[in-house]
């Protein structure tokens, strides 16, 4: 009973947030599953709080938030691509490339950190430009193109450095980990700001609205006089940029850039989007929902860690969550 009341209050408290996000993505009217997901989410939080006394410590919350930064940024970019009806499988290697380039530029070339970061982000933009160009110009299938670049970019990463790079400059590790506000580190704030920008972009800019529409009916958008190619290209550039930002923050958090890092990241990002209600192939998906998906996945990881569940079981559990999510959103 009390649980229900608390849940009710929390959902109500979130209603102003919902209004803020009212025209996000493609969704217009919310369905009962959206509320069911919110309810399940808070149930999970309550469960966590009641079963583990560590969960609500600042240390654990900081940890949880820092861990979702990577998947959060990648998922945001992935959402934009999915909204156009595409998919970006190459985000994992882009994370690795950006991580290794930023570390390498600092450590080997001795460049100042800001310059190194800009170069790393350019790498991500270039990857996105390439994906987007191949897909929009030649009408190739996004799955195939990004599958090809998934392999190719990983190869490039190893060409750049076969061994991990560990920047010695202590500021490389500390800069993004500085706690600015309670449990929020700079990296977490960057992710949150990215989500706000994403929300603004998709709901309040001409390009964002066009991208949302393209995934529903590309031909109708083209016949409305909109350059659909340019917008598809833009979506992949955004995805590449987001993955590159994630790469820089990841390298900083770990203090080391492994060329092998990022394997399977694309799957976690797709999972977050899908849990958040995105429809593969276009025609649905919201920023808020994706954020919920990211936090849910992060929360599950965190809880299973707290309870010392082996990582294999975590994988099984995550797989089940994804299936439940798509089953619940299945159209009758």
């Amino acid at each position: 009973m009390t649980n229900n009341v608390v849940q009710g209050q929390r959902t109500e408290a979130l209603s102003w947030l919902r209004r803020l996000f009212s025209s996000s993505g493609a969704g217009g009217h919310r369905r009962w599953v959206d509320y069911a997901f919110l309810a399940a989410f808070f149930l999970l939080l309550l469960l966590a709080a009641s079963m583990s006394d560590v969960f609500f410590t600042q240390r654990n919350l900081t940890n949880l938030l820092r861990q979702i930064v990577t998947n959060g940024l990648i998922s945001l970019g992935m959402l934009v691509v999915i909204l156009t009806g595409g998919i970006d499988l190459s985000v994992g290697p882009v994370v690795a490339f950006s991580a290794i380039v930023v570390s390498g530029m600092v450590e080997r070339q001795g460049l100042p950190l800001p310059v190194a970061i800009v170069i790393a982000l350019c790498v991500g933009v270039l990857a996105g430009l390439f994906n987007g160009f191949m897909i929009s110009r030649f009408k190739l299938q996004p799955f195939i193109v990004t599958l090809a670049t998934l392999g190719a970019i990983r190869g490039l990463v190893y060409v750049y450095s076969e061994t991990p790079i560990t920047p010695q400059d202590p500021s490389f590790r500390t800069i993004f980990s500085a706690q600015i506000l309670g449990p929020f580190t700079l990296s977490v704030l960057i992710m949150l700001v990215a989500f706000l920008i994403g929300q603004f972009f998709l709901s309040r800019t001409a390009a964002g609205r066009a991208i949302v529409a393209i995934g529903g009916n590309e031909e109708a958008v083209r016949l409305a006089g909109i350059d659909t190619r340019a917008h598809v290209l833009l979506a992949y550039v955004i995805s590449g940029l987001c993955a590159a930002i994630a790469g820089v923050l990841l390298a900083s958090r770990l203090g080391i850039a492994q060329p092998s890092v990022g394997a399977g990241f694309e799957l976690d990002a797709i999972a977050a989007c899908v849990i958040g209600g995105a429809i593969l192939g276009g025609g649905g998906g919201t920023v808020l929902g994706t954020f919920g998906g990211v936090v849910t996945l992060g929360l599950i990881d965190n809880l299973l860690n707290l309870f010392n569940v082996q990582s294999y079981y975590q994988q099984i559990f995550k797989g089940l969550i994804i299936l439940v999510a798509v089953l619940a959103r299945r159209k009758e």
Binding site: T205, L223, A224, G225, I226, G283
Partner: protein, 501 residues
Amino acid sequence: MAEDTDFLVMRGIRKSFDSTQALKGVNFSARRGEVHAIVGENGAGKSTLMKILAGALRRDAGAILLDGQPAVLRSPFSAHQLGIRAVYQEFSLVRHLSITENILLGQMPRGRLRGLVDWKRAHQLAEEKLADIGFTGLDVRALVSSLSVSHQQMVEIAKAAVTKPRIWILDEPSAVLSQEELKRLFDLIRKLKSESSLILYISHRLDEVFKIADRITVLKDGELIGTVRPEETDENQLIKMMVGRTLGEFYPKRLNRPGDEVLSVHGLTRQGSFSEVSFCVRSGEIVGLFGLVGSGRTQVARCIFGADRVSGGEIHLDGQRISTRSPRDAVRAGIALVTEDRKRDGLVMHCSIRDNVSLAILQQLSRGGVLDTHRRDTLVQAQVRELSVHPDDIRRLARQLSGGNQQKVVLAKWLLAQAHVLILDEPTRGVDVATKVEIYRIISALAERGAAILIISSELPEILGMSDRAIVMREGRLAGEFETALASEESLLACAAGVMQ
């Protein structure tokens, strides 16, 4: 009037789509060993009736008897089992498989080892099937995708022939054939007839119908007008039966005072669809473009709008030559295209009314890429109210609206974009009667405000009722031009079908 000899009896067949009644209680019967042609205007209900017989559509009411027995037609498969096969204009072939595999789909001969295909026998069988329908000289190992359209049709027929159907439904079989191929098709039809099959032949080409049919049934507006023998009638009389109706107060009265030439095309050509098309539309004028399916009318519209590329000819706007290499160019020049299938390429169904209506003016609504959402909502709301879209909540998704309101949303999009040349392709398809009248009013009002309007329609009353002038296309070319005040439905249809009066 079911006789004892009638093999197929369809009684009181009714079918509605949304709010439109496609069939209003049709009684149709046919015998074995006859070629029975079914004719009528587009939308008369021919295809719907045939699809019900073929199990592709379910009837709302009515009975179907085969040989006096009630026929259960739940799916195309159950129709196949009763010996009913349909060959549609769109083929049901698997393009990346060989001719053999397509003809024997689902019943490939097995080899000595179960599960293995006996390819030698399969190819042999496929060749036999093709020879059965008088078709030789094709490599049955070839992929279907490598065949010409007419050859594909032969494969389609051979595939249907495998099950030895008692009733054949041929939907516009001649549309893709040359004269030589047509002769071969007619030979085949006569052969099937001699084997006492019933052949239901749907065609727009009346001359063919007179050549091959034993009886002709005319449908109009979902009702059966009559069944005649070709020797008792002629083409003009048949056209009268197909059209025969009066124009009511359906179409708004309008002052007709055309101004300067706004849109004109000269010798417009697109390889494979149409050639040497020239016409003009003046300010304040509504021009109707009529043609049968496959006449190239939609392609002309798409090319003017830049949705497809032209291979020759010129487009002039307000006296200046323009080149519309993409829809973007056209929209910038003030041209709008309302496409014939709004679900396919007119609306983004999962987006809201305001997203759809503002789609063509996103750039004008934004500064530095950032949308002025307040201005967008005000403009869209005003436009939606003006056209009385129901419901007028602009956050509603397009897919939640009725067909008529969806069409109004499409119109609202182009009104907001202030297009002064409007090309409307089948603007009232799938729209209920009340909304139809509203849409006609909107179009008339636009013309009175000086827009140049081109209406493409396969509904003759719409062409005659709405337009000042009508141009007719046949097989990719201009076939005639009429002052609609002086023209009749008969004369337009005869022109479109290539019949001399």
